[in-house]
Amino acid sequence: MFIAATIAVLVALTLAVSRAILGPTVFDRVLAGNSVGTLAILLLAAVGFLTGRPEWLDIALTYGLLNIIGTLAVLKFFRYGDLAYDQEDGA
């Protein structure tokens, strides 16, 4: 049963990566990248149960925290062209 979930997540990963390669705008790529992060977490969980080593969930938690920070950082960079942008500075 875990192998079915693993295969499903791998299929979804293939589709998400092809959207990241095809995506016409940068936002499509960011969205696909975020989905790839989510699917990586689910893949880690499923494979951890598949191989009988659910300790990989720690890595999955770390990926989950990195995923949102990475996505927001990329969005901010493409909006302001600068990660250190501050509105009060006006820089």
């Binding site: 875990f2 959207r19 705008t25 689910l42 659910p54 969930l57 720690d58 938690l61 949102i68 969005l75």
Partner: protein
Amino acid sequence: MELIVNILSWIFILAGSFFIVIGALGLMRMPDIYTRMHAASVIDTTGAGFLVLGLILQAGLSLIALKLLFILAIFFFTGPVVSHALAQAALAAGVEPELAEDRRGQTTATPAKDGKSKEIP
């Protein structure tokens, strides 16, 4: 009892796998960024929710179940934040939704029952 929990968790895991594939198909097939976000949110909520619930049932009462719950909580708190930021960034950059019709300031004559036309705000 063991069998019932097992069958329930298999159902959850299969449902989660199904919704994950559906969401990824939508991510590939939808026409513009906003509809693609709609499809991708299926992966974040229904797919991940069902899959993690099934894994929790497999894990039983343990630290592993707690970690899985934390993963679910991360999804449920970060998903809306990322969706909001992404849609706002796309709108600010001038990406137009392909499927929407802009009804702002437009008085479409929708015949009401008393014969008067009703304005759509």
